[in-house]
Symmetry: C2
Subunit: 349 residues, 2 copies
């Protein structure tokens, strides 16, 4: 009986250890996670398939399209690609709300365009402001402070400001399917970057919290910084009232190389005004490349705009017919929000 | 006997499994590596102690000076900090060797300074060229090609060019003690960056291979890129003949924030011309900060230069008296190459 007990004990111990060892060597949990759908908010279709296929072939060492981890660079436009940009860019809403205080400090701006239009409160007129006008407002309202103070202001605003349609903070208006793509790429060794036509300093204030992208991986239109000293003789940087890097049109990819020295292997965008060249350049690279353009064709759940669908040409994030033709000719992936996205926002759950 | 065998077998199996399990859970190898000296090329002294102490307090969660992994940013100047800069910057040697071909293509430059001085072959006159003159040579010889072609040219040159004193490739003239610091910081969750007054495009050609620092973490003086199409209508970038980001003096830290949105927690430099403000700004940050300046005081094993030691004020990487006074006043760490470095180059072994 004693021997039987000992045998049983040894057996139990052996089984226990075996389970522990196997548990360590066979990653059950991991295998389960991998076999589950990494993109649950996507409908099955060509867009989802293309993204999954791209990740598979670029991370499989036996694939001729394998991309070494150090070259796994993916870029994402923000407005209209990661979050809602219509009817007006979120950043511009922020800037516009700062104009009254600006004019109070500099009364001479009250009768100068584009500030005059902003002060009029006419939203339709504001929506028609040119990119140059928007840049003037951006630069005027984002200068003269330290980058830390600017970042704090942006976060303070984001904590209370709400989108008029959804009545939710702007940071909740991020596209759930794209959040899944960001995580999926990172889980497969990709370094994810934001390449925005918007202001780098603005997006960096919340990029890590909202997208899991740290400030050093956010490239945008940029105002220069000036080194100096504050009242207490402490060294500080101050945001200067000019633009040193303009990320519109080809500027986005020119500056991406300037900052990081890479051609991305994957690029996501939606607009002719600041994504077309980036998507073209990405697509033209050697080996596996993925250029993806988001088409806003879902008037019910989000918005529908852009000449590529015979819809009105808006000033904001227009997906032009020329870009659509280029996409088809060069074999980019075009995402139909209406058809490809099962769910658009996380709060729809 | 059968039972005895079975018992023995169970016992053996249990012990084997126990060893395997413990082998997996107690990282013997890791523990050994951690207890060994991470900076073997350093003599014990205040500089080494300060670096080790900084890493300890910023990575220990119970320390009031703990720095979250996302904020662990360390910057390194290249010339005179990571590799030899005396008597002339390696990059400038590269640029100077390109001048004859440049003048052949553009004969009108033959009688224009600084190209005239370069063509004269007078090394002493060349060593006296101003930073502005050097910039003119850099820009003239690093323009008109794609970044990929430029990178290939640089690597081709580095594969054969040799330093006249050591008769070795320039990439072997990196300081072994600093390589150890780079690895030590990375092993402790720090992201290491190069912040150089030199050309970003030049350093990115070899930064990963030589320092383990990828191109996206190399900030330098930068020429802009222009998007266009080659003969085959393929989209390309071309290096433009001007400077968009000047990384000299305060420019280095202004541009570091522009590119990455961070104040480093640790900065390493050596020169009044492009490190002083970065070291001052780093040191002035909240919490644990480490500003380190390399003093070239080893005429025998490397070079000795700089007014801070009563040595001649050279144009290259001068550690001025003003910077030395600032270092002492603000409590930076000053590395004496002569006293703090047991070994300077890896080939000395």
């Amino acid at each position: 009986m004693k021997k039987f007990l000992r045998n049983t004990l040894f057996l139990a111990l052996s089984i226990l250890l075996l389970v522990v060892v196997l548990g360590g060597y066979i990653p059950f949990a991991k295998a389960t996670a991998q076999s589950s759908d990494p993109l649950p908010s996507w409908n099955d279709g060509p867009a989802k398939q293309a993204i999954v296929e791209f990740v598979k072939v670029t991370t499989d060492k036996s694939s001729p399209k394998f991309v070494p981890p150090k070259e796994r660079i993916a870029t994402f436009d923000q407005d209209g690609t990661l979050w809602v940009e219509h009817p007006i860019y979120t950043q511009v809403t922020y800037n516009i709300e700062r104009v009254p205080a600006l004019v109070k400090a500099k009364p001479e701006l009250a009768n100068v365009e584009p500030f005059k239009t902003v002060l009029s409160g006419n939203r339709q007129a504001m929506a028609k402001l040119s990119i140059d006008d928007l840049f003037k407002i951006v630069v005027a309202t984002q200068s003269g402070m330290t980058p830390q103070a600017f970042s704090a202001e942006v976060n303070q605003w984001l904590a209370t400001a709400k989108d008029p349609r959804w009545k939710r903070p702007y940071t909740e208006l991020v596209y759930q399917p794209m959040q899944e793509v960001l995580k999926y790429l990172r889980a497969n060794g990709y370094k994810t970057f934001i390449a925005t036509g918007g202001s780098a300093g603005f997006v960096r204030a919340y990029s890590d919290r909202v997208y899991g992208i740290p400030p050093e991986q956010v490239a945008g239109t940029a105002q220069p910084y000036l080194y100096g000293y504050d009242k207490n003789q402490q060294p500080i940087l101050t945001r200067e009232p000019k633009v040193v890097l303009n990320n519109m049109e080809a500027g986005k990819l020119e500056n991406f190389w300037l900052l990081y020295g890479h051609r991305p292997h994957a690029a996501f965008g939606n607009s002719s005004s600041d994504d077309q060249q980036m998507l073209e350049f990405t697509n033209a690279g050697e080996g596996a490349r993925l250029s993806v353009a988001v088409l806003h064709d879902d008037a019910k759940r989000e918005y529908a705009y852009g000449p590529a669908q015979g819809l009105p040409d808006t000033k904001v994030g227009t997906f032009s017919q020329a870009m659509y033709d280029m996409a088809k000719k060069q074999g980019w992936i075009v995402i139909s929000m209406k058809n490809d996205w099962k769910q658009i926002f996380s709060f729809e759950r």
